[in-house]
Symmetry: C2
Subunit: 290 residues, 2 copies
């Protein structure tokens, strides 16, 4: 199974601390070694850095770690290939332009019956075509295609959330669909099985990485007005209270806060063990991890 990392904030923030722990799962503390990608919105522009080598040892990841790029919206992904070979064309996050904005998408899971979804007439690729051969890029193009066909001009945020929620519920019938999506203004996170988030705001405390012997005192590197939401497949820190998304829960973050939410059943939260077993059952995680 791949792993996702997202950050949405009210002020440009350095993701170095979270990325330090996250990238170690790409070859040191976990087995997600089939490439990685990280993309930072800067205004309307995007820095997108990808590599098909393990994130833990990639020169690109080293550079990112040293550079300390600040952004209000970041999406990262470390890959354990389950659909599509290891290649740059199959490396998340995927990016396309919609309504004069760049959109970024990273997916974790496996959509086993995607062919059935994509052969329906309304879903032909007119505006958006996949370049690689992953289920993830196909479904990203499918979402953008549906949005563009329904809305020639960009609709309101509320309308977008409702439309993407409907599309997501439909796509979820075809497999495991944990994802993070952003247009640089907001960030949407959806869980079929496994996704966590935390919102950090004043009073800030200390946090300790799970994957490395690193501690940070957020109070020393923030202002009292800062608010940062971090989204990750599995919690990145040991001493903070991460919130797990319920099954089929979808959240929209803006300025580090939740601004829209859809949750069919708050009590339906999958155990991490069951989520990994489910991923393994469809070939998206090795048995040994379960």
């Amino acid at each position: 199974m791949c792993q996702l990392l997202g950050m949405n904030c009210n002020t440009p923030t350095d993701i170095t601390f979270s990325f330090e722990g996250f990238r170690r799962r790409g070859g040191v503390t976990d087995h997600h070694i089939d490439g990685f990608g990280i993309a930072f919105f800067e205004g309307k522009g995007v820095r997108i850095y990808q590599d098909d080598t393990p994130c833990a040892s990639s020169p690109v990841a080293e550079m990112i770690q040293a550079y300390g790029i600040k952004s209000k919206n970041v999406i990262a992904h470390i890959r354990k290939a389950s659909s599509g070979q290891i290649s740059l064309a199959n490396t998340h996050p995927f990016m396309r332009e919609l309504w004069g904005e760049y959109w970024l998408f990273a997916h974790n899971g496996h959509l086993t019956q995607l062919d059935q979804l994509l052969t329906k007439p309304a879903s032909t690729y007119h505006y958006y075509h996949p370049v690689g051969n992953t289920d993830s890029e196909q479904v990203f193009c499918y979402i953008l295609e549906q949005l563009r066909q329904q809305f020639p001009e960009k609709p309101s945020k509320e309308c977008l959330f409702a439309t993407i929620q409907k599309l997501t519920a439909h796509i979820s019938n075809y497999g495991i669909f944990n994802y993070i999506l952003s247009n640089g203004e907001w960030m949407i996170a959806h869980a079929t099985t496994l996704l966590h988030y935390i919102i950090r705001q004043a009073p800030f405390g200390e946090a300790r990485l799970i994957d490395d012997d690193v501690t940070i005192d957020f109070a020393a590197v923030t202002t009292p007005k800062d608010r940062v939401a971090v989204i990750a497949t599995l919690p990145l820190t040991a001493n903070e209270c991460w919130q797990q998304l319920a099954r089929n829960e979808m959240l929209m973050f803006e300025d580090g806060a939740i601004v829209a939410r859809d949750c069919p059943d708050e009590t339906d939260v999958m155990s991490i063990k069951d989520a990994l077993a489910m991923a393994a059952a469809v070939g998206a995680a090795p048995e040994s991890v379960v």
Copy 2:
């Protein structure tokens, strides 16, 4: 004025030597300090690395220099802003997807009367919208838009060359339009004023950078079958014979060789002095460089 660098080869090749000289023009040997971008095709995928700091001192450029990424098609650009502010959204090369392929585009020059071109009915943005506010991204979207509207499916290479040549001739009426374009298979280079190229093949010799005290013996790092075309605004090496494109000449390279050419008048080659003066006259180069 910005500067362009392209490489098209018959085998994946490391651009480190050329990029070493080129990047020094981004703050050391020349004044192109308003960001840079370089993109490498890898199969159907693209590594695209951009930064809004001067290329000569950018941590991203340092990483690229150390990594030694190999590719058959590379486009790089160092920017001296003449249209659009300094920001990542305005940093070349620009990338979009067309017919399930990524297309890359970098431009040098200034299209002063672009508004007149883009207000004509056929040129409205239907499939492609600019994200930033440069003339370069606008015209890239215009080219893709025209191609996509004319050809729902990808046409032959010959048809593409002829169509892009017609579009280019038309766009050239609106200002200076030196550019490099690639879909990962071929690379097109067009000069309104200033662009050079060289094709390196066996027997390989030594080359010495103009912008740095660096010499390479290509015979030691190539095989006899290798063929590499390098395209640059101004020659990168002092002891090789670079060919200058005539005014309005357009070349298509594939596997390091010229496979298509359009040249209205071979004898109409602009002097470097006149080309820089022309760029300065439209605000695309500082007077001091002329």
